[in-house]
Symmetry: C2
Subunit: 527 residues, 2 copies
């Protein structure tokens, strides 16, 4: 029995059935190339009969993949239609992929009640459709929909459907837990049954409605399946598909299987985050292996242990999946957490104790330093007296007027030593305008600020219970030279919260570049 | 063998180790009462030696729970200290709970390397600590930390630790997969081993680092465990604890076990959402059973099937966990989706086809109607010519000035028939001020608007790649009489996006109350 498990990705088809996802052709191409780079074996690119956008994708993707086999998805022929005349199958041929995945019902209830077929009809549709595509030299994978439910109510028929697929020439038969309701031991049992019924290699396609998609996929592998279908980050309809970012490292690191391009496993986190960014979805911070929290330790007692022996609370090395260990400074923390992150603190000093208290108080007011290490750094360094005052904010004003057009404008007045600077900025909105005005004012004295670029901006309303008067937390990510700066601001006023985060990013850039404050009389050149 | 599984909740202790959670004493009391209402058997209230805040919680909670047993968490005595003198154990006694949960190492590596103990020391600490608390008439649960890793490296010692706990009088022994790295079949195997080693009933405490916490908990039950420890919504350190909102319905609906107050299972979704709200965390929309997407169907082919037979793609009835089925209108949808939601549409008309196109276009521009059914309704009803124009917006202006103080102000000018109304509003921030000004202006002509209350406000930056110039989507939830109104607005300008959502909420309230537009000459009383 082979040790290698085929990884079959359906992010571009099943994954897009997740609420809130909408991928352009270019998005799909980027993701397909990424999957190819990571050694995925099959990339299900779309459902040509259902989505005409996919035809263009298939054309363009053809020349871009060097390893992964592009796959077109579709249904078996319709009842009463000849295979040659069936639009579904025609669309698959037109996609000109090397591989086709056909889905068909493997449950009595689904075939008869949902599709209104006779049991014999269904078997013929399955066999003929597969045979037709095989005659056109496609590799054919058969997705046996509702297989596990089918087994539970009428196992003989479910197995008959598999045999029909085998007779049609399918090279893979994938057993689908389509409504996501099965348990792992049931999966193993029925996969073993299927192995005795057909000689074709088997795959598993699980859904997460019971929180068991990963477990069910691994249980199928234990039962003898050698292909796992899933999506990056578990995207999919309802509660999602089986998460390949969880399954892949489990297969390789825990179950001694081979899968994908294993050298790339140590960049798994990059794969997960990049796909999330392309799909414009927030990453799941608690995701196994790749989530921001996966190797983040908070409780004091864990932190103490982890400093001595990382494996104390980690099941795999963070680096093996492209992460590194993080220790949070938070209210559950003690000095351990601060000391882990800031090596210039004197463990025995009062300053450290006060700092822990200060952080706890600020966090209670809504500040979150876990995501804003630059603001945290400023807080610590200011407490040690290491951060000078670079400028004073005298006033700011931001406004939005909608009359015929929408106009956003902001003015900022800052004081540096004896001089003051007033500047106006225009922008897409009030925050953008403030940002523009601030930079205009500052870069006259601190030209280095022109190298500070705002990259990402997030707003979170903290306690929605007060409607539009709620506390708001703004997070900003900037790039400055080669460094990423992340800062935070909190207020009931979204402009003020944004302003705090902007000021921290500017202060940090000036501080980290050792800029001398202009009002100290020297030319403000960075050292 | 009993059919009943004890549900042990540690949301208030292990759950708080999740990044981003910080619960006040009042928050903890609310959650504890909720757990009590749902029939949870044990509520681990805190860790008194580690968190002084917990002492107050234990005092106040004592009188409020009618079913659940309040539990204090803590470690076995320290090395070289007598039990009577140990501060940990003293803190547990002072909490005056009926139950104590003590954790101790059950792995050679953990005991010797992390804690620096001799193997014999560790056994004595376990036995003596438990015995001490039993002598004080507490029910004692022993959490065997790192049990599964311990078994993998030195199974004899791991079992010795369990026997020491049994000798000390522990009434429950909970096997912990502390670093979350075990697989389900390993869990079942070692639980069965433990059952042969001790006579004390066993529990399971799983972590989700491999995406298997739920599966591991169920595997332990299959192996004979009769207690499951976990948290609501799977909150916890790193990738979280075992999610009791997933485990409980699986146990009752799939595994024929009894657990909790089963009548309350059909309000499970309320439990999950309320705890998320108290913890001030966004709910996980894709969570099994309780997530907003769990019974939400998007793809056209699923929708068609589900309209005929709901069980086609649902593994349990949505009502059995406090949900109802939802069909999304989205770009993957066809007419089926619109027709499911809007019964006054004529399936054959051009209007429906155009509407589907319009929705797809708007969604491509960032609008999300899945969360904003009131905006969707307005869109549909406007296309049918059913929504009159209640007022015209001539101008608005919003500004924020920070000088000595922070001042937010907005002016709104609206036209109704021949009259115009200009009003100014002050507020915590620009959006709040706009909201105040708008209501001031409108309620002079439409007094019914005073019954419209803004309840929740969310902002999402859609494509962070453009920094502060990014597209922003604002969602607003309002209450109007007994109805919940949810509306959306999208723009690069956050004030304009908020304004759109506010206007939709006002239009919806006026339309749903059959208000006659004032400029039609009649008194604008609702029918």
């Amino acid at each position: 029995m082979t040790n290698r498990i085929q990884l079959y990705d359906t992010t571009l088809r099943d994954g897009t059935q997740r609420r809130g996802i909408s991928l352009s052709v270019e998005d799909k191409l980027q993701i397909a190339q990424l999957l190819d780079e990571f050694g995925f074996d099959y990339v299900e690119g779309g459902w040509p009969a259902s989505n005409p956008k996919d035809t263009m994708f298939f054309q363009l993707a053809k020349t871009r993949l060097t390893h992964a086999k592009l796959t077109a998805f579709g249904s078996t022929r319709r009842r009463g239609v000849f295979v040659e005349d069936d639009a579904n199958l025609r669309a698959i041929l037109d996609a000109q992929c090397p591989v086709a995945t056909l889905f068909g019902k493997s449950s009595v209830f689904q075939a008869t009640q949902i599709l209104g077929l006779s049991l014999q009809d269904n078997l013929e549709m399955v066999e003929e459709s597969i045979q037709f595509l095989r005659q056109h030299d496609l590799e054919v994978i058969f997705d046996a929909e509702h297989f596990f439910d089918g087994c539970k109510s009428d196992v003989d028929y479910a197995l008959q459907v598999l045999r029909a697929a085998e007779a049609g020439g399918a090279q893979w038969i994938v057993l689908c837990d389509t409504n996501g309701g099965s348990l792992p031991h049931e999966i193993t049992e029925y996969v073993e049954l299927a192995r005795r019924a057909v000689s074709v290699p088997l795959g598993i396609h699980a859904h997460n409605d019971s929180g068991l998609a990963v477990a069910n996929s691994l249980a199928a592998v234990i039962g003898g399946a050698t292909m796992v279908q899933g999506t990056i980050n578990g995207y999919g309809e309802r509660c999602g598909n089986a998460n390949l970012c969880t399954i892949w490292p489990n297969l390789v690191y825990k179950m001694n299987r081979q899968a994908g391009r294993e050298l790339m496993l140590k960049e798994l986190t990059r794969l997960s985050r990049t796909v999330a960014e392309i799909a414009n979805l927030m990453p799941d911070d608690s995701a196994p292996f790749v989530g921001d929290n996966a190797f983040t330790h908070k409780a004091g007692v864990h932190v103490g242990a982890v400093r001595k022996f990382p494996e104390a609370y980690e099941h795999v090395h963070p680096e093996s999946v492209g992460q590194s260990r993080r220790i949070l400074v938070s209210e559950l923390a003690g000095k351990s957490n601060l000391l882990y992150n800031f090596h210039n603190l004197d463990a025995s000093s009062e300053t450290v104790t006060e700092l822990v208290q200060t952080v706890k108080k600020l966090e209670a007011r809504g500040y979150q330093y876990e995501d804003a290490p630059s603001s945290m750094k400023l807080l610590v360094e200011r407490s040690l007296g290491n951060v000078p005052s670079y400028f004073e904010v005298d006033r700011f004003h931001a406004s939005v007027t909608k009359d015929q057009r929408m106009i956003s404008e902001a003015t900022v007045r800052i004081i540096i030593g004896n001089e003051h600077f007033v500047e106006v900025g225009e922008g897409d909105g009030p925050v953008n305008s403030l940002d523009v005005a601030l930079r205009k004012a500052l870069s006259q004295i601190y030209p280095i600020i022109e190298g500070l670029r705002l990259k990402d901006y997030k707003v979170r309303v903290l306690d929605g219970r007060d409607g539009t008067g709620a506390l708001v937390r703004v997070w900003i990510r900037s790039e400055f030279r080669d460094e990423t700066i992340q800062t935070v601001g909190v207020s009931r006023n979204i402009l003020e919260a944004s302003w705090q985060a902007l000021l921290d990013s500017v202060d940090y850039a000036l501080w980290v570049s050792h800029t001398v404050p202009a009002h100290l009389g020297k030319q403000s050149q960075p050292l």
